[in-house]
Amino acid sequence: MRIFFTILLLFLVQLSLLGAARIEATVSKNNLTLQETLTLNIAVVSDDKDAEELSAPKFPADFPFQILRQIGPSRSTQSSVSIVNGRVEQNSTVKSSYQYLLKPTKTGSLQIPALSITNGKQQLKTSPITILVADAKQIDPKVAGATATSQAQFRQYLSSESTVMGAPVLLTYELIVPSSLELRTIYPAYNEEKVSLNFKAEGYEDPQWSQQATVINGMRYTVIRKVIHLTPKHPGTLEIPGCTMTYQYVVPRQQSNRNNGRRSLFDDFFEDGPFGMRGQLEENTLVADDITLQVEDFPAEGRPDDFSGLIGPILATASTDLQDVFVGDPITLTLHLTGNNLDQDCTLPDLKTALEKEGKFRVSGDDPITMDEDGTLLYTRTLRVLSPDVTEIPPLQIPYYDIAKKSYNTATTNTIQLTVQENKKVTLGDAHIQGNTPLQIPLPEKTKTMLTETEGVLEINDLDDMARKTWSPFPDDQQRHGLLATLFLAPFLLWSATAIGLHLHRKANKLSPAERAARNAKSVLRNALSQLSEDDAQSGKRLAEALQTFLGQRFGIAGALTANDLNSAMTGKGYSPEQIAKAQALLEQCNAAQYGGSAIDLQTLKTQILECAEEV
């Protein structure tokens, strides 16, 4: 009885364990510097295939790490089959995990506390983990246990902590790693979009990083650097957000004692040779802190009213496509601005108002500013002269702030001379604005290159075409219906006449079957004879065959033809004894020529055969 209860108890314990989940929290490293990051992996392994989704762990408010990235929850299933004593057992486990990239916020002995995770109705807790965090500078490379990765640093810094509007500063990203570390790949993650909110940035598009070797405290380091040119867009305290740098490096393979300490030739060749990697690839992520830049506004003293924030020095010129125009003609005015600190997003002063204020011009168009291949900004508008008295397009004033001189200046365009005539061409663009309501008609900006057809009657005076007679489909035209009908009827009549004529001819010359057979036989004989030649050694044989075939077809004798057969056939047909004798003689002559091999007079024989054929 006790044994029974013991077994029952063990069975119940096993049942309670069945489906229970196990949790484990692991970190990628326990010792690191303030600049390094570590990966915290929290995994829950369950035998229950239908385990519910994990809830994310809640970190305490005083968690001494900054969470840079979270991956998960991810879920994977493992299945295994085991056969013990013929019994097949199938086990499957479900592993759900969360992964966090953590950066320590302070040095010292930090603790990742026990974290709670809910797995369905089950509450699971991880074990606390202690992490030792040191300042990078405090680590002495000569101290035993200091690793190469703990010596790596990544930072971002500015060439100056403060600047004025328009003056660019240099932002440098710098990764310093001990030279002993065999770097493979770097993956910088800048916050480029956030940077571009406050700065005009140049250099991010260049994938190249400069690399140089240096010695710090007697140790060799590799410095990898990238410099970005930042030009502030606004005054004030501008923040450059921190960013991360992930690098991959090769960890040399330890001389393992696998295979009892022996390494095969293939291990050396494939792992250390040209086709393999001498070690294992690992990854580390470093974080650069946020930095700020103080940007002073443009000086108020001497600032022009129409200053739009352009930074110089700037060179400005103007050009037009036309100089000899009528009043109201569209003129394309292009402003060319050249300067080192110009870009397509810059704002120009209100040139439309400047041009229209004297009532001489009307400006239209809203094309965006473009930049040509030389870096010159192009600002294009359509100008219409409103008076024939206008003789020029006046110079346009573009105020800017000169960084070098630290003062305001003005770029002035050239004067463009115009010849304007009174004779006005009315165009769609001349539609005047009625009151305050603009006319909603798009202006044709490219009329100078657009060919349009003028209204008018098109003519081709081709007398030959008009004098040509053709068939007309209209009933009221004096039609050549008779001719048309004749032309359609004529071929049919011709065919009918031919068919009838042929039929009548055949009927008139209708032959009996025997006559037709005789005619055919004669035709065959003639063909055979015409193909004979005196040079042919077989001519006698061919001659005899031709005659025999003819006579056989003529008299309906199948097989070999003998003189007796011929005699009886011809007698039956009523031929005279002379005719029969002549035919028999001819047949014998041919047979003699065939078998006897005697010389024959081919021409005479052919003539005799043809005469015979005509007679019979």
Binding site: G456, V457, K469, P475
Partner: protein, 261 residues
């Protein structure tokens, strides 16, 4: 006596001259009138010259010399005279001779554009039918008739040869010729039938009101009068009235004096 004799002689002379004038002379006169219209001192004078040219061209047509170029020329002249009804009528007729004539199409578009009324063009034939029967829509009537005649003649010739010998290739060629001839003959016959029973006509009067019957006493067939250039299809005549189908497939009666047919 002398005066009567002179008038009678003049009339006889004119009749004889007009009778003796051949199409070539009419064409020559028409071209001269056109040239004069171009160099006319005033617009009214040009109109007079163009009217003469139209008369001469109509005389050419009256003598049985019809072709697309002549209709196109008449259409262009009527268009210059701002007679939209006759212009559109002649230009539409010209298109039956040469469906892809760019000059005619441009002038027709211009004439339609000058009309007071603008109608939505209704496509009666689907694209698939037009693609299949492209020869009917894309080839002018005279060309279709000529092709039908040529293939018919060839078919008959091959048929005559087939009376004696019948090789397969000859029979195949004959069948092909017969099919092509049948296609073009059918196409031409359809055009003839359409022009006879669905005659092209255009409103030539500046304004006319279509009626529900063949008389002015009938109620108007449309809510608004028609203007010069409106294209209609004439189905039948009764006296001075024609039963027509207006744009929008509206049946109505129109006075033939207001129509150019």
């Amino acid at each position: 006596m002398n005066k009567n004799f002179f008038i009678a002689f003049s009339a006889l002379f004119l009749v004889l001259v007009s009778l003796s004038a051949n199409p070539a002379e009419h064409l020559d006169n028409a071209l001269k009138a056109e040239q004069s219209a171009l160099s006319a001192a005033s617009a009214d004078e040009a109109v007079q010259y163009r009217a003469t040219a139209i008369q001469e061209y109509e005389a050419v047509r009256g003598e049985g010399l019809t072709n697309g170029a002549l209709y196109g020329k008449l259409g262009a002249l009527y268009l210059q005279q701002n007679d939209l009804g006759h212009a559109i009528l002649n230009l539409k007729k010209a298109l039956l001779f040469a469906p892809h004539d760019r000059v005619v199409k441009a002038n027709l578009a211009l004439a339609r554009n000058r009309r007071m009324d603008h109608f939505v063009e209704e496509e009666n034939t689907t694209g698939a039918v037009k693609a299949l029967a492209f020869f009917h829509y894309d080839i002018g009537y005279p060309t279709r008739v000529n092709l039908a005649l040529a293939t018919w003649l060839l078919f008959a010739s091959l048929g005559i040869l087939l009376l004696w010998k019948r090789p397969l290739w000859l029979a195949t060629l004959a069948v092909l010729c017969g099919l092509v001839s049948a296609l073009f003959t059918t196409s031409a016959a359809i055009t003839l039938y359409t022009q006879k029973h669905n005659k092209i006509a255009v409103v030539s009067a500046p304004e006319t009101m279509p009626r529900k019957g063949d008389g002015e006493a009938y109620t108007p067939a449309t809510n608004a009068p028609l203007h010069a250039g409106t294209e209609v299809t004439v189905k039948r005549h009764r006296g001075d009235w024609a039963y027509v189908i207006l744009p929008g497939n509206i049946p109505a009666w129109l006075n033939t004096n207001d129509l150019a047919e």
